[in-house]
Every structure is written in structure tokens, then in C-alpha cells.
């Protein structure tokens, strides 16, 4: 399977000679993979997302970033851009249009898509996030979760190959959170080649992923399958991150002498216990 992202020696600082926001970060993400990126506040997660999406282009000279096999250069950046969809944290700050319809149209307009085709695309992507009845609503009349679903629809309409969610659920209530996660799951099912990089504070969200990257102080400190990453409890704690509850529980049970393998999912733990 080919690589969606190949990042090598990514370093970056906002101010010249300022502190390094990202410090020699290297990783790979395969096409179709669902990767969670976790890390404490200010660890550089959003900065990394901006770099991957090409919103920041001044990289360190020995850094190399390849997205879908293309280098980020003048020739390819437009094409790379068109393959990446971004959803940010604050639902209000990414709602550009006056209504849901106009907001979904915004991305299509930017891609210079024929206006006569737009209505069909808008309806289809709104329907896929369950917002087809709100097409003419203004953002003020929508809940945060609904606005976030519209943001997802706006991104979906552009048919991205890589979806980057930068704490897309962190301002939502548990219900809104679950809905967004379920939508992402559905999107991946419908399009298995869709690569997802989900940036999150919420370790519970990381459980869903194929792989977890942990960023601390601009450095990539851990990388691997969820069970593996969360077994480094001291390292995580040092960096103000905790393990998911189920994982903690399975470890605690093990300490008490119950014979279970550390696991991340409730079902997994149940199975282990019934064994």
C-alpha cells in the first residue's frame, strides 16, 4: 500500500531563532490508515497539521515532506491542496457562508467547479452528514455539532483523500462528539482509501485509531498501536497525558492478579474477562 504522508526531519519555529515548535519530527502514514495524534496543549499538533496541509510552507532546509508521493513544491502544491480536507476545532470560525448551502458551496467555488453541478454536490454531501434539512439555515441557528457536521460536509464535497481533523470534536458535547466520530467511521467505510489524521486531546478518541502518534514539546515521543503506546504510562504521565479508562482498568486488574491482556476496547476487556 502506498504512503499518504512521508514526513522526515520536520522542524519549525514561528519566530526566527525562536523556540522550536516542532523539532525533527519524522513519521509515515499509509493510505487508508486512521492515525490519532495526541499531545498536551501547545505541543505543536496544530502546527504540524498546518504544515501537512501546506498552510505553512517555510520548512527547515533538511526537512522533507511528501504527500501522496508528491513533494510540496510549486508544481504540486495545488494538487496536494485539493487532496486534503481540514476540519478545525471552532465550529464558528470555519463557517464561511451565510447559510449551510453557501458554506458547502464555498469550497466548490474555490475549485472553480461549474455552478450548475453544485446543487447536486451540495445536496449529496449535506445528506451524507444528515444536514439536508438545514440547507438554508444561517450558522446562528445551528448547534455546534451541526456546524461541525456542515464543516465536514464542506470538506466531503471536495472529495479529499486525506482528512485532517484538528480537535474537531473538542468543543462539542458528548452527543455531538459521537455523531462526528460516527460520521468519520461511515466515511471510511464508504471509501476505504480515505486516510484520516485525527488530532485530539481526548485519549478515548485515540482508541478508535489504527495507530497513535504522541507529540510532546514539538518532539514525536511515541508511535505505535494504541495498546503499545498507552503501555508507556510513566512517559505519558510526564507529558500530562493519561491512558484511556478501559486500558487503565485492564492494567489495574492485571496488577490485582487477574489474567487479562491490556486492551483498549470495552469489548476486548469483556472477552478477556470471560475467557
Amino acid at each position: 500500500m502506498s504512503l499518504a504522508i512521508k514526513a522526515e526531519h520536520i522542524s519549525f519555529s514561528y519566530a526566527k531563532d525562536g523556540p522550536r515548535t516542532l523539532d525533527d519530527v519524522s513519521f509515515e502514514i499509509k493510505e487508508g490508515e486512521y492515525v490519532a495524534l495526541i499531545g498536551h496543549n501547545g505541543s505543536g499538533k496544530s502546527t504540524l497539521a498546518r504544515i501537512l496541509a501546506g498552510l505553512i510552507s517555510e520548512l527547515d532546509p533538511n526537512a522533507s515532506l511528501t504527500v501522496f508521493g508528491m513533494e510540496y513544491d510549486k508544481e504540486h502544491s495545488a494538487e496536494i491542496h485539493s487532496k486534503i480536507g481540514l476540519v478545525f476545532q471552532n465550529p464558528d470560525n470555519q463557517f464561511v457562508g451565510a447559510t449551510v448551502r453557501d458554506d458547502i458551496a464555498f469550497g466548490l467555488e474555490n475549485r472553480a467547479i461549474d455552478p450548475s453541478l453544485m446543487d447536486a454536490i451540495i445536496l449529496e454531501s449535506a445528506a451524507s452528514v444528515g444536514m439536508e434539512e438545514y440547507l438554508d439555515q444561517a450558522p446562528e441557528n445551528l448547534s455546534g455539532g451541526q456546524k461541525q457536521r456542515v464543516a465536514l460536509a464542506g470538506v466531503l464535497a471536495l472529495r479529499p483523500s486525506l482528512l485532517i481533523l484538528d480537535e474537531a470534536t473538542s468543543m462539542l458535547d458528548p452527543k455531538g462528539k459521537r455523531e462526528i466520530l460516527a460520521l468519520v467511521r461511515k466515511m471510511r467505510k464508504e471509501n476505504p482509501s480515505l486516510t484520516v489524521l485525527s488530532i485530539t486531546h481526548d485519549v478515548e478518541e485515540a482508541v478508535e485509531s489504527d495507530r497513535v502518534l504522541v507529540l510532546a514539546g514539538g518532539k514525536l515521543i511515541l508511535e505505535g498501536k494504541g495498546e503499545e503506546v498507552f503501555s508507556h504510562r510513566e512517559l505519558l504521565e510526564e507529558n500530562h497525558l493519561e491512558s484511556p479508562f478501559v486500558h487503565e482498568l485492564s492494567l489495574a486488574l492485571r496488577e490485582e492478579g487477574v489474567d487479562v491482556e491490556p486492551t483498549l476496547s470495552e469489548e476486548g476487556l469483556l472477552e478477556e474477562l470471560c475467557r
Binding site: 498552510l55 480536507g85 478545525f88 464555498f106 467547479i113 444561517a138 446562528e140 464543516a151
Partner: protein, 287 residues
């Protein structure tokens, strides 16, 4: 929150909603000019103001705007009325000083002062109501598309009119969001003991600072994220974009332009000819 509904788009399917934004902008300009025309005398002025008021109310009913919204927006005009009355009482216009309403001590207050103040007030009210009807019946994006169309000639001077109209539509889009911020910050600061209502001027000024500083910071953060989100969705002010919403001129627009144009023409004629309907038609001399 009711006060925040001011100037907002009110979704509804009225004839006014269906008009092309360019038509509405054109009509708005004509009607505002009409409102500010001077007529032969006070009676004609107020007669025409009455006619305009009936028109405005008709539009108002058509667009299903709430009257409370209008009244709220006109509430602050009380202040204006008192201010104008004061100005005209102190400095009455020199023609028409034979008609004293009453005396304050030895100081005469002329009817002309009161009527002049009322005249300006009525004009302001009509202007505000007309603008509100426009913003209530036109989506911000359509409105800016209309503006852009009128500005398109200056594109030949190298001005990026599409980018400016995007700036305008974003401003319109974010007004409600920022008003919510204002409310939120005011609540937060009130809970910390800041009083926005009472106090000496210096206290009030400090209260205002405690509102403005966080507001500016939060707006800057918003704009930062917005810029990222827009760029992430492929927005490039210099690139060629297509438009989802096409402006289209219909028969209704022609009719609206003709009707408003006729009304405008009639009012201008009355103004220029100093026509006095009371004298000409009813043979009564009213001031």
C-alpha cells in the same frame, strides 16, 4: 438576544426577497434620496413623509420582519430627537421665525425648530427602516454580490473587487458571532464585578476597556483560524473562482425599478417645482 436580530437576514419567501439584490440596492438609493428631498413647506414635507411611511410599512409587512425589531432599532433615536430639538431651539433657522410655539422664560421656542427636528428624525427613521428591510430580505452574500456588481467598473483600475466583496461578506457573516462574543464577555466581566451600567465616566471607561481588549483578542484569534480554514478549503483571492449564486434580473425587478423610479421622479418633480398639493388641489393654505 432579540436586540441581536437587528440587521439580520430573515428567511422568507416574499416578493421583496425574490428581487435581485442589484435592484434592491438601486431602489434603496433612490428611496433614501427621496426621503431626504426638501419640499415646498412643512405640510408637504410631512405629507410625503407619511406617503413614504405607508410604503415602508407595506414593504415591512411583505418581508415579515418583526415590528419589535424595528422599534428596538429606533429606540435610540430618542436621544437624537432631544439633541436635535436642543440644537434647533438654540439656533433656529432664520426664515420662519414668526410662529412661536411657547416661551421658556423669555426665550421663544419656534414651531420651526420643533418641526425641523421632527423632519430630520422622520428622515432618519425612514432611512433606517429602509436599510433594515434591505438587510432582512437579502442574504449577505447576495448583497455583497450586488455591491460587487456596482463596483465592477473599478476592476479596470486594478482593484480586486472580488476580494473586497469577500471581505464585506465575511464582515456581515461574523457580525452576529461577534455580538454573541460581546454578550459573553460582558457576562463574564460582570460576574467579576465590572459594572457596565452605572458609575462615573472613568469607571465606565475602564469597564469598556475590559470589554474591548478581550473582544479584539478573540476576534483576532477568530480571523486567524478563519484564514486557515479558508485557505484549507482552497480559497485564493487571486485565483479564478466560480459563483454558486448567479444574480439574475427578472420581470419583477423591472417592475420594481419602474415603480420606484416613478415615485422618485414624482418626488423630485414636487421638490424642484415647490409643488404644494394642499394649495393646488384643495385650495387651502397650510404651512
Amino acid at each position: 438576544m432579540a436586540s441581536l436580530s437587528l440587521g439580520r437576514y430573515v428567511p422568507y419567501r416574499s416578493p421583496v426577497h425574490f428581487l435581485d439584490p442589484r435592484t434592491k440596492l438601486f431602489c434603496l438609493v433612490l428611496l433614501i434620496v427621496t426621503v431626504f428631498l426638501g419640499y415646498a413647506n412643512y405640510s408637504t414635507t410631512f405629507l410625503m413623509a407619511g406617503v413614504s411611511l405607508v410604503l415602508v410599512l407595506a414593504f415591512f409587512l411583505m418581508t415579515r420582519m418583526r415590528f419589535t425589531a424595528l422599534l428596538k432599532s429606533l429606540k435610540s433615536l430618542w436621544f437624537m430627537l432631544i439633541f436635535l430639538l436642543l440644537i434647533y431651539a438654540i439656533m433656529p433657522r432664520s426664515d420662519n421665525l414668526d410662529w412661536v410655539a411657547f416661551f421658556i422664560g423669555n426665550y421663544p421656542i419656534y414651531w420651526a425648530s420643533i418641526l425641523d427636528a421632527l423632519k430630520i428624525l422622520v428622515r432618519l427613521m425612514l432611512m433606517i427602516a429602509l436599510s433594515l428591510i434591505l438587510t432582512a430580505s437579502t442574504k449577505p452574500l447576495d448583497l455583497t454580490a450586488g455591491f460587487e456588481w456596482y463596483l465592477s467598473p473599478i476592476r479596470w483600475l486594478g482593484v480586486n473587487t472580488a476580494a473586497w466583496s469577500m471581505v464585506l461578506s465575511l464582515a456581515l457573516r461574523f457580525i452576529p458571532t461577534i455580538l454573541v462574543d460581546v454578550e459573553r464577555i460582558m457576562k463574564a466581566q460582570s460576574s467579576r464585578g465590572v459594572d457596565f451600567q452605572r458609575g462615573k465616566l472613568s469607571v465606565r471607561a475602564r469597564a469598556l476597556v475590559s470589554l474591548i481588549v478581550p473582544l479584539v483578542v478573540s476576534s483576532l484569534m477568530r480571523s486567524d483560524e478563519l484564514a486557515d480554514a479558508m485557505e484549507g478549503r482552497g480559497y485564493d483571492p487571486r485565483a479564478k473562482r466560480t459563483r454558486y449564486r448567479k444574480l439574475a434580473f427578472h420581470w419583477g425587478d423591472l417592475i420594481a425599478v419602474l415603480l420606484v423610479g416613478a415615485f422618485f421622479g414624482m418626488c423630485v418633480a414636487m421638490s424642484v417645482l415647490s409643488f404644494d398639493p394642499f394649495l393646488e388641489w384643495f385650495q387651502v393654505a397650510v404651512r
